[in-house]
């Protein structure tokens, strides 16, 4: 429920996380990324809000609050450099940056992830063109498989970020098949730029780690491009209106 928040990485002198169990009328269970997709969407969006409130660049703000953690800085710096973050995007385009250190299996592994998403105009809409993803998963045994997890994990996260809406009527779920509960299709799949960092750490976990930063990075880019602040998932389709 609070994966990625209670164990978040930013240096915050006063930090307290409390949770309250809320009985739900429907059973909920794990999905890929466990709690981090929902929690990090809130958390990274909150960090984005703080940066905007402070009037500080999103990359610089995160960097300042991660200065105690060289591995965190490394993924952030690599993704920002690859995406030419310090060069402003072309007119009509927008970028968002996000970070998460995925702490998995009760603290047994830590995988560092930073992403930059690029939105581009397409008619009267913004579309996701490219995602840069820097990862430090420890020693990489099979870079091909790892790259596949970066590509597929971001695509999986995009289904959640853009499409996966469940609604209820008269006690039952209204969605029943892919017409009402779509998956991401190939025409929505952005270009992926994987950035795999060398590491002497033992191999860490990777199957779920790239998912959580996707949605908050898109929301941050949308805010920059349209002035609309989105705090619900799936991101509403009209949020991508130019």
């Amino acid at each position: 429920m609070v994966d990625g928040i209670y164990n978040q990485s930013y240096r915050l002198p006063n930090f307290l996380v409390e949770t309250i169990d809320t009985p739900l009328p429907v059973p909920v269970y794990f999905m890929r990324s466990v709690g981090s997709t929902a929690a990090v969407f809130f958390w990274e969006s909150f960090i984005s809000d703080l940066a905007n409130r402070a009037g500080i660049d999103q990359y610089t703000y995160r960097r300042n609050m991660l200065s105690h953690d060289p591995l965190a800085l490394r993924v952030l710096d690599v993704v920002a450099a690859a995406a030419h973050w310090t060069t402003p995007p072309a007119p009509g385009h927008a970028r968002g940056i996000s970070y998460n250190c995925y702490v998995g299996r009760g603290g047994r592994f830590k995988t560092y992830v930073a992403q930059v998403v690029e939105l581009a105009p397409d008619g009267d809409r913004l579309v996701l063109k490219r995602v840069f993803c820097a990862v430090d998963p420890g020693l990489v045994i099979n870079p091909n498989t790892l790259t596949a997890q970066i590509e597929g994990g971001i695509g999986f996260a995009l289904t959640t970020a853009l499409h996966s809406r469940i609604t209820f009527a008269n006690g039952v779920v209204e969605q029943s098949n892919f017409d009402s509960y779509p998956l991401l299709a190939i025409d929505e799949m952005p270009e992926i730029v994987p950035l795999i960092l060398p590491s002497d750490r033992p191999p860490q976990g990777f199957g779920e780690v790239v998912l959580a930063p996707v949605a908050p990075a898109i929301a941050q880019a949308l805010l920059q491009a349209t002035g609309r602040r989105i705090d619900v998932m799936p991101l509403p389709a009209d949020a991508f209106r130019r």
Binding site: T145, G152, L183, L184, A185, I186, D187, M189, I192
Partner: protein, 154 residues
């Protein structure tokens, strides 16, 4: 129940089924051709794609009574230069992850390359848009189709 004769992968096969049985279940349950997959049952996802007279169709939504004399090709029966190029590209790119949708992806990719020798990204999106992949192997599907097109001289 009726005796239905289907031309599948170059051979006539007779089976006892109701005429409204979807071709998918005739293939999978009666003929044990399980390479063709059930995904959604309503032609939204493309996992069940086979060829009828060379055209990709969703076998989950095609009653066997409507197949007639159409020549059916399943993933088990693909052949020819496009099929070989697609198979080799799929292996070289390590496209599949869980693999469930990949029979349908490969059938649609072969059909695309038979129709268009050198598809653009947009052309690939249009031709492959009905084949969903929960693992989102789309980056490699696109790359493998371009590779196969190059191998075919497109």
């Amino acid at each position: 129940m009726a005796t239905v004769t289907l031309r599948i992968n170059g051979a006539n096969r007779s089976l006892e089924v109701d005429g409204d049985t979807p071709l998918l279940w005739a293939l999978r349950d009666h003929l044990k051709l399980t390479g063709t997959k059930f995904g959604c049952g309503e032609a939204y996802c493309g996992a069940c794609t086979v060829f009828v007279d060379g055209n990709p169709v969703r076998s989950c939504s095609l009653p066997v009574s409507q197949v007639g004399n159409g020549a059916i090709t399943t993933i088990e029966g693909i052949s020819g230069p496009e099929a070989a190029a697609v198979q080799q590209a799929w292996i070289a790119r390590d496209v599949p992850q869980c693999g469930y949708c990949q029979s349908g992806q490969i059938m649609s990719a072969i059909a695309l390359l038979k129709a268009i020798r050198k598809p653009t990204d947009r052309g690939i999106d249009l031709a492959m848009g009905g084949n969903l992949c929960r693992c989102a192997t789309y980056v490699r599907i696109r790359a493998a189709i371009h590779d196969a097109a190059r191998a075919l001289g497109g």
